[in-house]
């Protein structure tokens, strides 16, 4: 018993999924599916790649060509897939740990190449799968099992790093602002180049509980309260933005795409051959 | 020589593992050997949860429970899942809401653990300690005082009184 959308795009025998009650990974996964549905892609032409983490378990549920790789390496696998068959729409689903801790290098290099892959980072500010250690996006002073006295680590701004490294479409959404998130993913998919959509998410089990934020509902409320649209943010002084989640489109630019450029090279050599 | 294999079970979040730890620690305070282990992984997330304890006067070589002498179950799901390999003639201690058939194969004790916890104490999170009281009253595996000490050792600061009350109430249920 499920919606048409769910029946069409999910592997029904794998549901319900393993995520905890109130974990918004489900919400974000569904946002990806809705974006795909909006664009009317053929499921056979879509390939979804993930790393390791709670978030990365998404691929097991989604009825496409799915690849659940090693921790942090999804983008490197995806790069091989896209190079080999540029016709495939390649999507990467990853977590904050997967994408920006162990996977940080592949992340910035995929940005640099501007290869036509859309990456959605389910950023719950924690390593969920391994039980709540702080991640590179865990706010400073928060608690994690490896930060029992409060995290001293400064955080990455995923979108800013992606933009500086060369991604051509960059946006941030939240699980609360689901419709806006879907729209951003649609735009990311439409962008011919490397797109990053940071989906700010909730891990009530580890982040929420340990940091005494409350349950899933409280965490969702927090997403709502902390979010400021990028347009509005531009008009605010930095002190007013501290601790805020800036949502909306951060970057949208056009640059040559990597597999196109490679095809041009092949064509050029063929031309010269003649 | 005493050698008992115990499986404690319930649903995720009921504090089953803490219960196992307290039991094992009390056994050690008692001068026995004890090993506590639990299941990790997807199995440990939601659904049925279990902790296993072996208590022995002698050395414990193999660290896992093979055929439990005693099964404690707080939920139907846990009971159904973990009854399978109970030793013939073993002891089952279950919440009184758990429906049990074929009870001739084991010694059954049904105790109103959940209802007492929820209705009387109104603190669902101490169901594990209530259960521990009942468990030990039935099995007499460890000294009651040691269990109290172990409880105080392991429960969060500020909840000591509540937990001791819960423990005593559990004892009273049997």
């Amino acid at each position: 018993m499920a919606s048409n959308l769910v029946e069409k795009y999910y592997r029904m025998d794998k549901l319900p999924h393993i995520w905890c009650a109130g974990c918004t990974h489900g919400t974000s996964m569904n946002a990806v599916v809705r974006a795909i549905d909006k664009l009317g892609y053929n499921q056979d032409e879509v390939c979804i790649v993930s790393g390791i983490g709670c978030s990365s378990r998404a691929t097991g549920y989604m009825d496409f060509n799915t690849l659940h790789t090693t921790h942090g390496r999804a983008l490197a696998f995806a790069t091989g897939i896209k190079m080999a068959n540029p016709k495939l729409k390649v999507i990467v689903i990853t977590g904050d740990g997967d994408a920006t801790a162990i996977g940080g290098n592949h992340f910035i290099h995929a940005c640099r190449r501007n290869i036509d892959i859309t990456t959605i980072v389910f950023n719950n500010n924690i390593y969920g799968m391994t039980g709540g250690q702080y991640s590179p996006t865990t706010p400073t002073s928060s608690l994690g099992t490896t930060a029992p006295y409060g995290n001293i680590d400064p955080v990455f701004n995923i979108c800013n790093v992606a933009a500086a490294a060369g991604a051509t479409y960059v946006a941030r959404g939240t699980a609360y602002h689901t419709q806006a998130l879907i729209n951003s993913i649609v735009k990311g998919l439409e962008n011919k180049g490397f797109s990053v959509i940071e989906a700010v998410s909730d891990c009530p089990t580890y982040f929420g509980r340990r940091n005494k934020i409350g349950d899933a509902v409280e965490m969702m409320k927090r997403l709502k309260e902390l979010s400021v649209n990028v347009k509005a943010a531009e008009k605010l002084p930095p002190e007013k933005l501290e601790g805020k989640i800036i949502i909306g489109e951060i970057k949208n630019e056009t640059r040559p795409e990597y597999t196109d450029e490679y095809q041009n090279l092949i064509d050029r050599l063929k031309e010269e051959e003649k | 020589m005493k050698y008992k294999e115990i499986r404690l079970s319930g649903s995720g979040g009921q504090g089953i593992i803490l219960m196992g730890i307290i039991l094992a620690e009390a056994a050690i305070m008692n001068g026995d050997n004890a090993i506590q282990s639990q299941s990790y992984g997807p199995e440990a997330r939601g659904g049925a949860s279990r902790a296993e304890v072996i208590i022995s006067e002698g050395e414990i070589d193999f660290p896992k429970v093979r055929k439990p002498d005693i099964l404690l179950s707080l939920t139907q799901e846990a009971f159904n899942k973990y009854i399978v390999d109970l030793k013939d003639g073993g002891i089952v201690i279950a919440d009184d809401k758990v429906k049990i058939e074929d009870s001739d194969k084991f010694q059954l004790y049904q105790v109103p653990i959940m209802s007492t916890t929820n209705d009387v104490l109104k603190k669902p999170m101490v169901a594990n300690i209530v259960a521990l009281g009942a468990f030990n009253k039935i099995t007499k595996l460890v000294d009651e005082e040691m269990l109290r000490k172990a409880i105080l050792n392991r429960v969060p600061k500020g909840t000591e009184d509540l937990n001791i009350k819960a423990f005593n109430m559990g004892i009273g249920l049997v």
Binding site: L15, P16, A21, G22, T27, N30, D215, V217, M220, K221 | -
Partner: protein, 70 residues
Amino acid sequence: MNKKVSTKVIVNKAWCKGCGICVAFCPTNVLEIKDGKVEIVNPEACTRCGLCELRCPDFAIYLGGEEDEK
């Protein structure tokens, strides 16, 4: 499918984990948690806005028509 179907909010209790998200953010208080699962307590108030479906992490609540329920 060109047949317009009347949609209504449907719950799949087997999948619902009782997180309460749909309940908290339903604009018209249609929903409630009972025994750890969602329940439609106020169906008439439902505006079919679809927010519950959009946010439910477990695909356990959605707008569907009779045709969909087969």
